[in-house]
């Protein structure tokens, strides 16, 4: 399939805008058309689930109903959105009564969700739809020698293991290797960054991120590749605070995995928002300069 209903989600409009830009650029270069779902709304994140089940699924389902109208599967780059939309699909499929209620709620906006659309993550689409061979053939700028820690985070693999193992996923490893990068051993690959705890209970989250940064450095990584806006934000924006709190000296760039694909395919770093990171990924940018953009 080369057309997807694109669901950026709230983070990709703001804090994770470099993720949004890089996904759009990379997919365009690989001949995949992303059609942004017109007037999409927040998926509800982990927050709405804590308040009211039916409302949480109903607002999430509005986006799926809009995608159904487009007749396309959904591409959702944010891990949290990805899991929430997946969960909505699964739980309303499991519970016919809930499905009925959700459609009654959607009817208030003249919408219906009765032909489920699949929800896919860009990592899954890149590796399992486009394929490593196709991507490899388009690499103009090998990332050989670049040492990258692959950080999957929680929600693209858990709870469903939709396209990879819940404990030891390898999809990103394979993708980065196809670009020529040296993928380091990374024991933190599916450990939690704390998500929203960085705002609500900072001390807990700082400790989690300390472990993640330390594991990357200890295994020789020069940068961490993430697939989630919250992971990226916590690891990047709080590095200084972690250094202060724990007497460390981390200065490790946190890029999105799509940035590495883009640079390898010869795309402009600025077009992918790589200049908007707080810790500049100099070693990656140096690679980009080697090719004409």
């Amino acid at each position: 399939m080369s057309d997807y209903a694109y669901y950026p989600g709230c983070s990709l409009e703001t804090a994770a805008s470099p993720y949004d830009k890089s996904v759009r650029e990379v997919f365009k270069a690989l001949g995949i058309n992303l059609h942004e779902i017109e007037d999409w709304n927040c998926c509800g994140a982990t927050m709405y689930m804590s308040v009211n089940n039916t409302v949480a699924y109903s607002i999430s389902a509005r986006n799926l109903a809009l995608a159904q109208k487009m007749g396309m599967d959904v591409c959702a780059p944010c891990s949290s959105c990805f899991t929430i939309l997946q969960k909505t699909n699964r739980y309303i499929d499991w519970d016919p009564k809930e499905r009925e209620k959700i459609n009654q709620a959607l009817a208030a906006a003249n919408l219906v969700y009765d032909k489920p659309v699949a929800v896919r993550h860009p990592l899954d689409i890149l590796v399992n739809e486009i394929g490593l061979d196709t991507i490899k053939a388009k690499v103009v700028n090998s990332l050989a020698g670049l040492k990258v820690a692959p950080y999957y985070g929680c929600q693209i693999v858990r709870p469903y293991g939709y396209f990879d193992d819940v404990d030891d996923p390898v999809t990103m490893n394979k993708l980065l290797q196809a670009l020529g990068a040296e993928v380091t051993h990374y024991p933190g690959k599916v450990r939690c960054c704390g998500g929203m705890l960085m705002t609500t209970e900072e001390n807990i989250a700082l400790k989690l991120n300390l472990g993640l940064l330390q594991a990357a450095v200890d295994n020789g990584a020069e940068m961490i590749a993430t697939a989630c806006p919250l992971c990226q934000m916590n690891l990047e924006a709080y590095q200084n605070k972690i250094n202060q709190a724990f007497g460390k000296n981390f200065n490790i760039p946190i890029v999105y995995f799509t940035h590495l694909v883009g640079v390898a395919l010869g795309m402009s770093p600025a077009k992918m928002g790589l200049d908007k990171l707080l810790v500049s990924p100099d070693k990656l940018l140096a690679r980009a300069k080697e090719v004409r953009v």
Partner: protein
């Protein structure tokens, strides 16, 4: 002599009914009955060290008829939804979903731990969705810290500016065009859902 087993007090009985109702809202919710008390959930949880009661103890307290104690603990609000417990439970209990069920009961009955504000965040978040249809990060964070820790709000200003300069933090909320659709859906769904 056989000891007479006292029925649960009325408040606990009511909470148990509500909890069983919530456990019916996701697949295999009743598997909680098969908990082995093995502690895999607590062992795999990256934040259990910071909880006042562990996920294993949540199930134990439920069995002991002390749901209200669970709701007064910080545990359900510290869970970051990483689902490690869910994928590792040897009998397949969906621990994360079970904690969500407890959060919904806590929210609907306003039973919270003392001096704790995580639930404030959930309320502010859903308020934003109703108003704008999307999350409004700056508004959310300001509202949260005004309520929980005003001093911290000022210490975050530098970081906020750095993000604004990079176009990674919006000063104004982004509002969807057909917000009336989202509001109509929320209103109708609230009438249909029981909590």
């Amino acid at each position: 002599m056989i000891e007479r087993i006292e029925p649960f007090p009325k408040s606990e009985a009511e909470l148990r009914t509500a909890f069983w109702g919530q456990l019916g809202k996701f697949p295999e919710g009743d598997k909680i009955k098969t908990c082995l008390q093995c502690g895999t959930c607590s062992g795999t949880c990256p934040v259990s060290y910071a909880m006042d009661i562990t996920p294993r103890q949540v199930v134990a307290l439920f069995r002991a008829g002390r749901i209200e104690d669970i709701l007064h603990s910080r545990t359900i609000w510290i869970c970051a939804s990483c689902y490690s417990c869910t994928v590792r439970c040897p009998v397949g209990i969906r621990v994360t979903d079970t904690l969500y069920a407890l959060k919904r009961i806590a929210m609907s009955r306003k039973i919270y731990p003392a001096q704790f504000h995580v639930q404030t965040m959930s309320k502010a978040f859903i308020g934003n969705i109703y108003k704008y249809g999307r999350n409004y990060e700056l508004g959310l964070v300001i509202r949260f810290f005004l309520k929980s820790n005003i001093v911290k709000l000022f210490t975050m200003a530098g970081f906020g500016m750095a993000m604004i300069r990079r176009g990674r933090l919006a000063i104004l909320p982004s509002k969807i065009k057909r917000i009336n659709e989202v509001q109509a859906i929320i209103k109708r769904a609230s009438q249909l859902g029981e909590n």
